[in-house]
């Protein structure tokens, strides 16, 4: 395999007494998506800021697209695109003017910057809004414009800091599709997120970060299997049918299903057909079903398994945000 597009070794960074990064190693081969998963204040944004040359690390080293983030910062900036949590577009410029400005600052040249801007507005369904001031845009449109700005120079490495935070489900889906399209075209992406779901959908590998450390790393499937994967949750119509339900479903699980307050929970061994099989068995046993659902592990589940505590916001977060 060629040199990794993103490679970080032992990155540390402190703000005053708070250790935002406590020795982080990251690696993403070219053309893949690396997901950084963690709660607010875990150090995700600090890592992105260091990798995009906005912040010097206290210790450790990192190379992006073959350039050292400290020594070759100036050359590296031509190779990266950054879209942030706060949709950094100029509200008092139109969508077109925003992209054209970014293109010229990437030194594309006057005419190529204009052409590239039109092309991106088209691709991000913003052509109709191209000549409107960005302050009239909806949240989803701003995020799209922000992402388009990050793509102006066709950077080989893209950093997306919680790109879907605050978006409605439809805009979120649109944005995820656009990110997938970039990776299909060969771009390497580092994406931070707070939702396992998003990391699962997009990332080839996930690094789980807590208190400035990588506490787990692997493919989404590896992580989910550590957490226990998907669970089947059955709400019974009658409490006194609990033993019957447990007997009926026991053959589907490695361990005996647990049942409390009329809700039966069990790990789902087989993803396909698991629900249908469970329904058939419960029906055959004469157990009434009020509700049945597959629950995916959440960020909290991951954290409880990996760290023993829920993904709560740590106090350092506020500090990190205050200085960030």
């Amino acid at each position: 395999m060629a040199e990794a597009a993103i490679e970080a070794r032992g990155l540390t960074k402190s703000f005053g007494d708070v250790r935002a990064l406590d020795g982080i190693d990251l690696s993403a081969p070219a053309g893949t998506i690396l997901g950084l998963l963690g709660p607010n204040g875990a150090g995700k944004t600090t890592a992105v800021r260091i990798l995009t040359t906005l912040l010097p690390p206290d210790g450790g080293s990192a190379r992006v697209a073959g350039f050292d983030v400290v020594r070759d910062a100036a050359a590296l900036r031509a190779q990266i695109g950054l879209a942030g949590q706060y949709a950094a577009v100029d509200e008092n410029l139109t969508g077109f003017e925003n992209l054209e400005m970014v293109g010229r600052l990437y030194h594309l040249g006057r005419r190529p910057a204009k052409e590239r801007s039109r092309e991106l507005l088209e691709r991000f369904s913003l052509t109709d809004a191209a000549d409107r001031l960005a302050k009239t845009y909806s949240g989803g449109m701003r995020r799209r414009l922000d992402l388009a700005a990050a793509l102006v120079a066709r950077p080989p490495v893209l950093f997306l800091d919680e790109p879907t935070t605050g978006l409605d489900p439809r805009s979120r889906l649109q944005l995820l599709e656009m990110i997938e399209a970039r990776v299909a075209a060969g771009t390497t992406v580092l994406l931070t997120t707070q939702t396992l779901d998003e990391a699962d959908r997009l990332a080839d590998r996930i690094a789980v970060i807590d208190h400035g450390r990588v506490i787990a790393e692997g493919t989404p499937d590896e992580l989910k299997s550590r957490v226990g994967g998907e669970r089947l949750e059955v709400t019974l119509e009658e409490y006194d049918q609990e033993p019957a339900a447990i007997d009926a479903l026991a053959p589907l699980a490695d361990e005996r299903p647990k049942c409390e307050h009329g809700i039966l929970v069990m790990p789902l061994k087989r993803k396909r057909g698991g629900i249908a099989e469970a329904v058939r068995r419960l029906d055959a046993a004469g157990v009434g079903i009020a509700d049945i659902a597959v629950k995916r592990p959440t960020l909290d589940d991951v954290f409880i398994v990996l760290t023993g505590h829920a993904a709560e916001e740590s106090a350092d977060d506020e500090l990190e945000e205050a200085v960030a």
């Binding site: 995009t52 950094a88 400005m101 010229r104």
Partner: protein, 258 residues
């Protein structure tokens, strides 16, 4: 292209961006031009009658150069507010992640703010003439005076750029700016002759660079005795730009919003 030509073209792109924004933010520059007009009316009609200005037939001739210098320094607030806004909205982060010259965001900002200062200067001159101000120098001197005022405004944009980069918010930058500007402008020769002040304050007012700029402007606009004021004023402007541009760019490179 060389680093220098990139620095120039990047600065031009940022300046163009800021110039485009000016007509789209009328609240910003309307308040910035109306406030000094109110000051003129206040000083000419309310305080003017009580202020003795030996050597001047009319207080308005003494006042206008001083109040215009103050207006130019207030132009720094436009710089500070613009930069604070860019910092807060993450635009400075975006700029810093781009392969553009490190000086361009600030240089483009301060350059565009010269345009706002030109508008304010034009309004002040019109208002001044309407309330009875007379230029009594040659047209060439008037033009030189206008050039000096714009240079001074540009210098103050750099001072305020530095203030904004070291403040956590626009409000913080504004408060700090007022703390710098009010004592400097009022304890100077801008509104009253320093000779009328207590001796300790008179000494401060005479050493105050604001007085030097005001006296130089008076020399160029109403033929007041100048001495070396014009040259010293130029030196002050160049010195302020050199010091604060260096400090601001340094601050931008390393610590902005870290």
């Amino acid at each position: 292209m060389s680093a220098l030509s990139y620095a120039i073209s990047d600065t031009a792109v940022v300046a163009q961006r800021n110039l485009r924004r000016i007509p789209r933010q009328p609240d910003l520059w309307v308040s910035f031009t109306i406030q000094p007009v109110i000051f003129v009316l206040l000083f000419v009609f309310v305080f003017g009658g009580a202020i003795q200005t030996p050597g001047y037939d009319d207080y308005v001739d003494f006042l206008m150069p001083g109040i215009i210098v103050q207006t130019m320094s207030f132009g720094g607030f436009v710089t500070a507010l613009g930069l604070s806004d860019d910092l807060r909205k993450g635009l400075i982060d975006r700029f810093r992640s781009l392969p553009m010259a490190r000086s361009a965001v600030l240089a483009g900002r301060t350059l565009a703010d010269v345009a706002t200062n030109m508008v304010a200067l034009a309004v002040m001159i019109v208002v001044g003439v309407l309330v009875g101000f007379n230029f009594s120098s040659s047209p060439l001197e008037v033009v030189a005076g206008i050039g000096l005022l714009l240079l001074f405004g540009y210098a103050f944009s750099w001072v305020f750029a530095f203030i904004a980069l070291n403040s956590n918010s626009a409000e913080g930058a504004q408060a700090l700016g007022f703390m710098v500007i009010f004592p400097l402008t009022f304890a100077s020769s801008a509104f009253v002759p320093p000779a009328s002040m207590p001796s300790w304050l008179e000494a401060f007012a005479k050493a105050n660079p604001f007085s030097t700029i005001v006296d130089a402007t008076r020399a160029l606009f109403v033929n007041a005795p100048a001495g070396n004021d014009v040259w010293v004023a130029l030196l002050w402007c160049v010195g302020l730009i050199a010091v604060f541009a260096t400090l601001s760019v340094y601050q931008y490179r390393r610590a902005v919003s870290s």
